[in-house]
Subunit: 166 residues, 2 copies
């Protein structure tokens, strides 16, 4: 093994799955962030952990309204996902700008995104400070899949595409 | 979107990356666990989070010696990775059984695994109880890549393989 800078070794993580997290402000304006740092963290009760940068607008929203909907974006949502990952909800209404369609959730205030490969309604049950990010742990209250067959998007480092299951 | 059981929606997470975490007992016996639930969680300082089931032997070892080496297994380590994911370190010496070759780490007691796509020496700096798992957050002290070109393994749900970057 050859010792290298940590950033160089992290490049070996690709392809990395991409998720979208939908959050909402106190006054009811939803926002969408693109996230690569996501992992399941319990079967029973079902939980998922997401890591959000402390300077992100999503971090502020999650502190105000501790609920989120985690969505796996589909290949056909690629451009919308890239927009969400490169613009701040402070400046843009991301549903309006991307054309992504919100769908009312059952238990939480942020909406689902229509056409996601899968979506999970989550209530934040714990947080952990980790360097320049915070881990938000969501208990999953219910889940959805797309009615149509959709392929999940992966980040290959400098481009995004789905992966064949064959 | 169609509401389904949470387990059914989680199946849409595949392909999922696979990692190996090397831990060590108080009396110096190393062990290896296969993990899917891993995410980076800070750039500065560099940190990674791993989620480990509370009943796992690795959970006990991490409580005794809070250090681990996170490795991305290569395609040619597939059989060894499957062995590590299906046997407990309580019963087996996994380096001996799999033929994986340990390499002395620089800052932590658990060894690296020779031929990993990448490896990260980590010291546990925080933990968080999450349902039936615990999140262990490791600060990354240094990192390595393989001297040869290796491909990372992914879990496709019922089989494991590498993914082409083309």
């Amino acid at each position: 093994m050859k010792e290298v800078k940590i950033e160089e070794a992290w490049k070996k993580k690709y392809p990395e799955q991409v998720s979208l997290a939908v959050t909402i402000s106190k006054d009811g304006k939803p926002d969408i962030i693109a996230l690569g740092w996501v992992m399941p963290t319990s079967f029973n009760p079902p939980m998922v952990a997401i890591s959000v940068g402390k300077t992100r607008y999503t971090h502020k929203l999650l502190s105000e309204v501790p609920e989120f909907v985690l969505c796996f974006p589909s290949e056909r949502q690629k451009d919308a996902m890239i927009f969400c990952g490169t613009h701040s909800g402070k400046d843009y209404d991301k549903f309006k700008e991307t054309g992504l369609k919100p769908v009312k959730a059952k238990y939480v205030k942020p909406p689902l995104i229509e056409g996601s490969v899968a979506a999970f309604e989550c209530k934040v049950v714990a947080t952990l400070d980790t360097g320049d990010h915070t881990i938000f742990v969501g208990e999953i209250l219910t889940a959805y899949i797309s009615e149509t067959e959709e392929k999940r998007i992966y980040n290959f480092g400098n481009y995004f595409k789905s992966i064949s299951n064959d």
